[in-house]
């Protein structure tokens, strides 16, 4: 039970790059992926900026090796999950007990909403191939079958904390000796359903978002996928690339305040972060960088900031929200941000919060605004908080 769980591979696709190397370059060059809607067909395309992956479904399908008629979420998921697995380069993969734990928020909704347009006119119409992968789990299975993973497959959907929960469920499956290796993370494609849903909540920014800025206006939705390969200590010892990063802490707590809003004191966020610290055996001052949930909404940033103030005051680690680059990728954000957190550890770098101009006056700290290299980064805390009060924090550590 005390066995460490190592990170053996990374995979990512987002508005700032189609693989880990491209994402890293964009992070370094401070290139945001937020812009005018090009691929999603919505009446809001001129009003609401989004962070889209800059490829059509057919282009994604070619890279993924899956039919372009499948959900965009499955295409994104397969590309990033495959990259992670290739990166891990586990030679005896087929002899290990392998799992795929993926997260998403709306499954194959991008296809369902097309189906629905015809179905509502006449319920004997609408192409069935557009509805058969509606379930969140179907998207996961399309990918698992392509990856050749069979021993254990599951899907988690806890809104914006989904893929953080997937990653630590995966780690626990290894610690409980159920599996040896797990590809874990999440994926979400932009859909009209989600875009309109967030629009009714009036939390979308009609300009590029400004997380943790006093004058922030809301979030930009994004899309993408992020996966990490977790392996047992025993498997890690056999790998040529010598994994030296572990998932040292994790915690899932509930805000129990409101179905969509965070409590003013950030209770759930506080419990998730302090719980993850406790699990890792680290103290607040051991954390070198926090990858913030930092959506850019009024409510999230003050709640998360207040929780950080309560936990870390008087000395604050460096922190930033990479959602200013990638938008809020919902079911994928915990996975993508886990990849970014691990890259920060590997390259000893810290990302800026793009477009942060006026620090929040109620907070005693200011997130980073410039890209920094050659920084000592040993422990990174990654936050993911969502609807339903679901708050999860992960800690990655270099050993």
């Amino acid at each position: 039970m005390s066995n460490k769980v190592f990170i053996a591979g990374l995979g990512a696709i987002s508005a700032i790059g189609n693989n880990v190397a491209e994402c890293l370059a964009a992070l370094q060059n401070e290139q945001s992926g937020i812009g005018k809607m090009q691929y999603l067909q919505s009446v809001h395309k001129d009003k609401i900026p989004v962070a889209e992956v800059k490829l059509s479904n057919n282009e994604l399908a070619k890279i993924a090796g899956l039919s372009g008629t499948k959900s965009r979420t499955a295409l994104l998921s397969l590309i990033a999950a495959k990259e992670a697995l290739n990166h891990a380069a586990i030679e005896n993969f087929n002899s290990l007990r392998a799992g795929f734990i993926s997260a998403n928020s709306v499954g194959g909704m991008d296809k369902t909403e097309n189906f629905f347009t015809e179905f509502l006119q006449n319920n004997t119409k609408g192409k069935l191939r557009n509805i058969i992968n509606h379930e969140c789990g179907s998207v996961t299975e399309l990918v698992a079958d392509k990856l050749g993973i069979k021993n254990y497959i599951s899907t988690i959907s806890t809104a914006c904390s989904s893929s953080a929960n997937a990653i630590f469920y995966a780690a626990r499956l290894i610690k409980n000796n159920v599996l040896d290796v797990v590809v874990a993370g999440g994926a979400d494609a932009l859909t009209k359903f989600t875009l309109n849903g967030f629009n009714t909540l009036m939390i979308l920014d009609n300009k590029p978002c400004q997380p943790f800025d006093e004058n922030r206006r809301g979030l930009n939705l994004g899309e993408g996928a992020g996966y990490i390969v977790l392996v047992s200590e025993k498997v890690a010892a056999t790998l040529k690339n010598n994994p030296n990063i572990i998932l040292s802490g994790y915690c899932n707590a509930n805000d129990a305040y409101h179905q969509t809003a965070s409590s003013p004191d950030g209770n759930g966020s506080y419990l998730a972060m302090s719980g993850a610290l406790k699990k890792s055996g680290l103290l607040p001052q051991d954390i070198d960088y926090i990858n913030l949930h930092g959506t850019g909404t009024n409510n999230n940033d003050i709640a998360e900031g207040t929780a950080i103030k309560r936990l870390f005051e008087p000395s604050f680690p460096k922190m930033s929200s990479t959602k200013a680059y990638t938008g809020h990728t919902l079911g994928a954000c915990g996975g993508l941000e886990a990849v970014f957190s691990i890259l920060a550890l590997q390259h000893q770098i810290i990302y800026p919060t793009l477009r942060l101009q006026t620090p929040m006056k109620d907070l005693p700290f200011v997130p980073e605004t410039i890209f920094a290299k050659n920084v000592k980064v040993k422990n990174v805390l990654s936050n993911s908080f969502g609807f339903g009060g679901n708050c999860s924090s992960l800690i990655f550590s270099k050993i």
Partner: protein
């Protein structure tokens, strides 16, 4: 670990303690609908109006389960749902299409997320503890159960509220019917297995369990083991998985008093079970359960509830024929059930 309480809303009388499965509730339809309790004693009247049916069923079964256990705040809440909150999802989608993405209101969207029920339970209980939601088709409940088992093993929790919830809506039934899942023509659930034909009957349910590390005075049952396997290639692979499961748990089939199997009335689907009844299960008594609850991805939760009830009472409920078993009390049960021959589940339950 122990199942110290349950609560089950299903198409049968399973919710009110003194009525449990006395008589089968018959449906002359390919759709079985839950018998809903009076929500007023479980949920605030203002909330009832806002909640969709699946949320009400989920929250109510969860609340009743905790009441039965005498637990006010569980250490963790874990739910499983394959389809999630379909009614709210369909409502928001319909409005979005009809009004061309304009003039929408947020309520249906907010309530459409797959963690709505777990979140609502947490909110009502003011419970800040671990809260997770699994949404993996025929493994949704099994993953939630696996999570609960690990939380108890890790000592992260001393008790865990775990449940499965899935609903049928008019839209989902129309679509799943077009996919050819259900029987057509005259059908009654009480005769589901009488004649071989194509298709099954649709079901739904909300089943909750309180799992705990320590026994209590009125334990329902012991949950000894859970195992799942995905897309087996053939029946001999299924037999192999079942045999390995029994070996790992050091139990012989001859020491199992009853096997609950997941036949759903579809001729092709049921072939697997029939072959097993001729091979490894040939000396065991098997009973079916999907004629009671219908077929749905989280139906294994109904089987676990049924198994728990049987070992607690020591005998089969009245809806089963008396001559199916000898007079000896039923103490150990194996559940083997699958969903569409993709998601296969094994559960081992015994009396305390």
């Amino acid at each position: 670990m122990y199942i110290i309480a349950t609560a089950n809303i299903s198409p049968q009388n399973t919710f009110e303690q003194n009525e449990v499965l006395k008589n089968i509730v018959e449906y002359n339809s390919n759709q079985l609908t839950c018998i809903e309790p009076d929500y007023k004693s479980f949920i605030d009247a203002k909330l009832i109006r806002r909640m969709s049916r699946i949320i009400k069923m989920g929250v109510t079964a969860a609340t009743k389960c905790l009441q039965n256990a005498g637990v006010s705040q569980p250490d963790a809440i874990v739910t499983g749902t394959a389809y999630g909150c379909l009614e709210d999802t369909g409502l928001f989608l319909t409005k979005m299409v009809e009004y061309n993405e304009e003039l929408l209101t947020p309520t249906a969207f907010i309530q459409s997320t797959h963690n709505t029920i777990g979140g609502q339970i947490g909110l009502m209980l003011q419970c800040h503890n671990y809260n997770n939601a699994f949404v993996h088709r025929g493994f949704s409940f099994e993953s939630a159960l696996q999570d609960a088992i690990m939380l108890l093993q890790e000592n992260e929790a001393q008790n865990v509220l775990v449940g499965a919830i899935d609903e049928i809506t008019n839209t989902s039934h129309t679509i799943l019917s077009r996919l050819g899942l259900y029987k057509q023509g005259n059908i009654c659930n009480s005769n589901l297995f009488a004649k071989k034909s194509k298709g099954t009957i649709a079901g739904e349910g909300s089943s909750f369990f309180l799992l705990a590390n320590e026994p209590t005075e009125n334990n329902c049952a012991k949950l000894n083991a859970l195992h799942t396997f995905y897309k087996p290639n053939n029946v001999s692979e299924i037999e192999g998985s079942i045999n390995n499961f029994l070996i790992e748990n050091a139990i012989l089939l001859k020491n199992i008093d009853l096997i609950i199997v997941g036949k759903n009335g579809d001729a092709t689907n049921d072939d697997v079970y029939e072959e097993l009844e001729k091979s490894i299960f040939k000396n065991n008594v098997t009973i079916n359960y999907k004629h009671l609850c219908g077929e749905y991805p989280t139906a294994a939760a109904f089987a676990l509830w049924l198994a728990t009830d049987i070992v607690k009472e020591g005998k089969l409920p009245a809806v089963y024929l008396k001559n199916e078993l000898s007079e000896n009390p039923i103490k150990s049960i194996l559940v083997y059930t699958n969903y569409q021959n993709i998601h296969h589940t094994l559960l081992l339950i015994s009396a305390c």
